[in-house]
Symmetry: C2
Subunit: 249 residues, 2 copies
């Protein structure tokens, strides 16, 4: 399994991915799920992937091949805006499907892939997309400024309650790490090291790209203190005092 989350904020974008892959609980590996494509000052794109690793790795290789080819084919360096970038990634994913889906089906394996693509190209505002296995995609809006892929449910309530478009990048990084912590606690197949990637609006380059492992002091602090803080918040709420008076239905 995988957990990736990204938020599109006024100040920029935050991307966080875990790195655990598994083919059964006895076959667990570490693979990074974040890919960065940037030409500082001109464009910066971040791609996070979940699903079948053979599919998503092939996709990234094909994207890189097209970027390196210099043969006039469309690629992530040549697309004029983020919408076209999402369309291009979706098309490439369809190409992977054409190549592999039938063979996978013969082995009873579903063609699973989900992608988050965000970034900024030229003078356009930063944009964030969720790309599905079929190559279609949706875009984040002010109402829903974040996307999750993979094991999304454990870490969703806290994001729903906190995130706003005006949330700062520091706060959003904290929020993503808390959301990841809730997920890691509940799903063994999501694990460190984490990739935290931050873009600032109009900088057109990566502001930070940090690998967070089990020894990271800030993440360890989050893990301890968030549990404590939740326990404290829980204690602060009054208990029901009407239980003994409960009517017998």
């Amino acid at each position: 399994m995988t957990y990736c989350v990204s938020m599109l904020l006024d100040a920029g974008m935050v991307f966080l991915s875990d790195s655990r892959t598994n083919a059964g609980v006895d076959h667990i590996n570490t693979f990074r799920k974040t890919s960065i494509f940037q030409r500082p000052g001109e464009r910066v794109l971040v791609l996070m992937s979940s699903g079948n690793l053979a599919i998503t790795q092939q996709l990234v290789s094909m994207l890189r091949e097209a970027m390196a080819a210099q043969d006039g084919r469309e690629n992530l360096w040549s697309v004029p805006n983020m919408f076209e970038a999402a369309r291009h990634v979706g098309e490439m994913l369809r190409e992977v499907h054409r190549r592999d889906a039938e063979a996978l089906k013969n082995f009873g394996i579903d063609f699973t892939a989900a992608l988050i693509l965000g970034g900024q190209i030229g003078t356009e505002q930063p944009r964030l997309f969720h790309i599905y296995a079929a190559g279609n995609f949706i875009e984040a809006t002010p109402d829903t400024p974040y996307f999750q892929i993979g094991e999304s449910k454990y870490g969703k309530p806290i994001i729903d309650r906190v995130v706003k478009r005006y949330t700062s990048l520091d706060e959003a990084a904290k929020l993503a790490l808390i959301s990841m912590d809730s997920t890691i606690r509940s799903n063994l197949s999501v694990g460190v090291p984490l990739d935290l990637t931050i873009l600032k609006t109009n900088e057109l380059k990566i502001a930070s790209h940090i690998s967070i492992d089990a020894k990271n002091e800030y993440f360890a602090m989050i893990r301890n203190r968030w549990s404590e803080a939740l326990g404290h918040a829980f204690d602060e709420l009054p208990n029901p005092d009407w239980l003994d008076a409960g009517e017998q239905l």
Copy 2:
């Protein structure tokens, strides 16, 4: 969808279920998912169900029929302990499977059912079981003193962080309601009214059985103040101050 949660504590047991059923988003209804069987002073059992409503309703009808029959057949009044009660419910579920599974399969419908059965019989300690669609079951232990069925992921992290065997019944009711709130916020197919049922150890009867709807003041308070408390807890944790120093990988 459905969300039900139950906790087995030193002080007794707490059961909470929602009441929303849906056959597509345009076909939403309210059905209670908690059934109570009690002979005060002798035995008290609480059954919560999720899955295909036609299956779980049939199961409850068959359990009640057997209890009413007085024909010497095993039933929930006659079983000598909670383990045998869980086995009996599992057997009844297998009988539903024998009757219906093939016909459902012909319509491409899976035989889905998950049950939580808890209670106390005679001098035995209270016990809590999670019964699967195949009629097999597991029992709660001090390490894992709670079970969830249905849409369990959104409301799991807060329970994992808070519940202990020594948690009081009032606190456990509050915890179950907070967990339900997180679930309702994230999944439209889980909704009020809620059934909250409380047993106290060795009372051998229902201590409280309360229906909680959208107008319930305590639940409304939980909904508002828990969001506030989470926001406050979030604000209290320090933001990362190392983002700008992040190495470029």
